[in-house]
């Protein structure tokens, strides 16, 4: 092992950590700072990491920067919720608005590999109609991409990650078989299944990005249950152990512990490179193109931080929409107790799912959809859930005694894009001396009706599954999207379908911020699909001389 990865960069001296081997290294190409690389990518998560891989494989010279550490999961991930906070983005951010959101543990990663290092591995496709939700379903905004094209890319990503999923999926157009078989259900997932069957709706084992059989050097899932604290077996297929190693092999350079603070733009209004902080000093990397892939808070923050005389409102912001239409997903839950021992801490947390209310349109008094999944909170997350309903003292200890009997259903619900939900810069500064992000969020009436519907239905389904003493967790959110949406009109969007900025032709965005709508499924698979598509489009444009 070598040094503290949070203080000493590992992607250096022509080598990178080989995360699949204990103490292993792999050669890594390095590019000089004063020679412009083809692409400087800011962020190595589902968007940036995937794009770095696909661009490098097409022969482009790529450097990807990440503010976080380059971890070795086999050696450095403890089986401990608190310690593993080291994977989260814990730099300060301010949250306000009518319904201020919580950040940090469940939606913000700071590591090479981004939030995928601690994501819950749920890998779902959008419902086809969501790509035209304005024209077909009457809400939100249309995507400038056709669903069939996205479904082709979904397939590519599912194969790249060897998603473990059911042999046949109950909802939507027919899709091919998942590359790996679904995992065994745990008891918590069976309660979801029972409830769904009682309610007369379909359910399915969740398509998960964790191996149900060996793959290369990666072990199959050991059902440890610490998935959202980081997978120490490498069963979880993520940017960290799939896309990034591929990127490095294809000639990309990854710079860890490198916080990008500004995208530089010249007189002609074109990007020239990025300013980044690494090893105690600000440095500059020249690049022909810059891709911002920092997820839906850091991406608009960086674009706003990069404001200059030429672009006083921030980069790519002629529409005024950078930071606007920020969307989370509603993540409310119902919880109850079973007579049987459930021990939901075993196995991946969300082994069963129903997407019924994503695909059914009848019986709804709201726009949008939601999925809900079984749950497996570990003790710290579970006590935080309990304190949210005001429990403390003897009441809390008594409730916590039921830990091994608790069971729950948690939604991932669509929220509508609203301009008032936004990312702006606060006066407060972070450790780099940069203004921190202010995240303003409020639900709209439609969001509230959707949540009410979900809580009501999930309550009945949990009851039908055999649980008693059912109660509601009414305030949680997950995932960060929107804030730099794609579209087909420069006046109402920040980037085009390829993620290319309307204002600055060599500035691109590739992450969840480009989503015009979020749908009712976890976004990571869609972000990766977009990244693969963006890479292909860049290849096409380069061949045509249109880069």
């Amino acid at each position: 092992m070598s040094g503290d990865p949070q203080h000493e960069p590992r992607g250096k001296n022509g080598r990178a950590p080989d995360v699949l081997r204990v103490g292993g290294w792999m050669p890594m190409r390095e590019y000089p700072q004063n020679e412009a690389v083809d692409f400087a990518i800011v962020g190595t998560g589902a968007g940036g990491g995937t794009l770095a891989c696909r661009l490098a494989e097409k022969g482009f010279k790529v450097i990807a920067f990440d503010a976080g550490a380059w971890w070795r999961p086999l050696e450095e991930f403890a089986s401990d919720e608190s310690h593993q906070k080291k994977l989260f983005w814990t730099d300060e951010r301010l949250c306000d608005g009518e319904d201020p959101i919580k950040l940090g543990n469940n939606n913000s990663g700071k590591a090479v590999g981004g939030s995928m290092v601690h994501f819950a591995m749920v890998s779902l496709r959008f419902r086809p109609e969501w790509f035209k939700s304005r024209s077909i379903l009457g809400y939100g905004a249309d995507w400038p991409i056709d669903w069939r094209e996205m479904w082709r890319y979904y397939r590519i990503v599912e194969n790249a990650l060897k998603i473990s999923g059911p042999v046949t999926y109950p909802w939507g157009p027919k899709r091919g078989r998942y590359p790996y078989r679904a995992h065994e259900l745990n008891a918590a997932a069976m309660v979801l299944a029972r409830g769904a069957e009682e309610m007369g709706i379909a359910w399915s084992p969740t398509p998960l990005s964790t191996l149900s059989a060996p793959r290369g050097l990666a072990h199959p899932c050991a059902y440890r249950g610490f998935c959202v604290s980081g997978c120490s077996t490498n069963a979880k297929q993520s940017t960290l152990n799939v896309w990034i190693p591929r990127a490095v092999k294809a000639g990309a350079e990854i710079r860890d512990l490198a916080m990008v603070g500004r995208v530089a733009v010249n007189e002609a209004g074109l990007c020239t490179g990025v300013d980044y902080f690494r090893e105690g000093r600000w440095q500059f990397q020249r690049a022909k193109h810059v891709v911002v892939a920092g997820y839906a808070i850091e991406t608009p923050r960086l674009l706003l931080l990069s404001a200059n005389g030429r672009f006083p409102e921030g980069l790519a912001n002629s529409s005024g929409l950078v930071g606007k239409n920020f969307m989370v997903q509603s993540n409310q839950a119902v919880w109850g107790l079973m007579d049987e021992e459930i021990r939901a801490y075993k196995g991946p947390p969300s082994l069963a799912i129903t997407e019924h209310w994503n695909y059914a349109d009848k019986g709804k008094d709201f726009f949008g959809g939601y999925a809900y999944m079984s749950q497996g909170p570990l003790p710290v997350v579970w006590t935080l859930t309990q304190t949210k309903r005001g429990l403390w003292g003897e009441a809390l200890l008594k409730e916590m005694q039921h830990y091994n009997h608790q069971v729950g259903l948690k939604m991932v619900g669509e929220t509508l894009p609203q301009e008032r939900n936004c990312i702006t810069l606060a006066d407060e500064k972070d450790a780099y001396g940069l203004p921190i992000a202010r995240v303003t969020h409020a639900y709209c009436d439609n969001d509230r009706r959707l949540i009410e519907h979900a809580l009501d239905f999930m309550g009945k389904a949990l009851d039908a599954g055999g649980a008693k003493d059912i109660w509601r967790e009414t305030d949680d959110t997950c995932h960060l999207n929107g804030s730099a949406r794609m579209g087909s009109d420069p006046r109402t969007s920040v980037v085009n379908a390829d993620g290319r900025s309307w204002d600055i032709p060599n500035l691109w965005i590739c992450d969840g911020s480009v989503f015009p709508t979020v749908g009712g499924v976890n976004p990571s698979l869609t972000i990766q699909a977009i990244a693969c598509r963006t890479a292909d489009r860049i290849g096409v444009l380069a061949a045509r001389g249109e880069l």
Partner: protein, 216 residues
Amino acid sequence: MSMHTSRYPGYDVLRKRDTPSWDEPTRKVIKERLATPSDPRFLDAVQWRALEALCACIVPQPIDRPRVPLAGMIDMRLHANAGDGFRYARLPPLREAWRIGLAALDEESKGRHELPFASIEPAAQNALLKHMQHGELASGAWQGMDPQLFFTHRVLPDICGAYYSHPLAWNDIGFGGPANPRGYVRMYYDRRDPWEAVEAKPGKERQALKENRRVR
């Protein structure tokens, strides 16, 4: 003090320390946690007394086993200034919130009982905390910080989150604890792996105690 008897008598997750359920990084992390000092590094003596009393109210620990050094864990966190990655705009930063909050708690207590928080009766302490929880405190000592918000977004999550990160608390709730490289095999209802805690069913407490002592 709690007289609640454990549902998992005799279960001690630390007995698994040298089994395949624990790996080296985890052993190191837990060892450090178990060695949390029981005197302050960040807080002063007055704040420390208030914090200890507050922790005892929020988590009344069982008396028949060693105590989780809660105040020490909070103090360590303040010392490291380890934030959550966000804060509500209406709350000051982590350290400031706790400094103001602990001082204000003493002021509120003195205002009612002429004694600092740590010196009043447990019933009075709990009553005061209920007022805080329900937004019924308004002394100037809060310096503009909303006491209710401080209670729901700092006091409860910080103290309870620290408590359930400690192995002693895992024992109480029958959590399997660290699990690497050995995870779990038996996923079905009412099934446990031999390295998981045995729940005491009514009338079978002695058997559970016996079996839990063998859980490795």
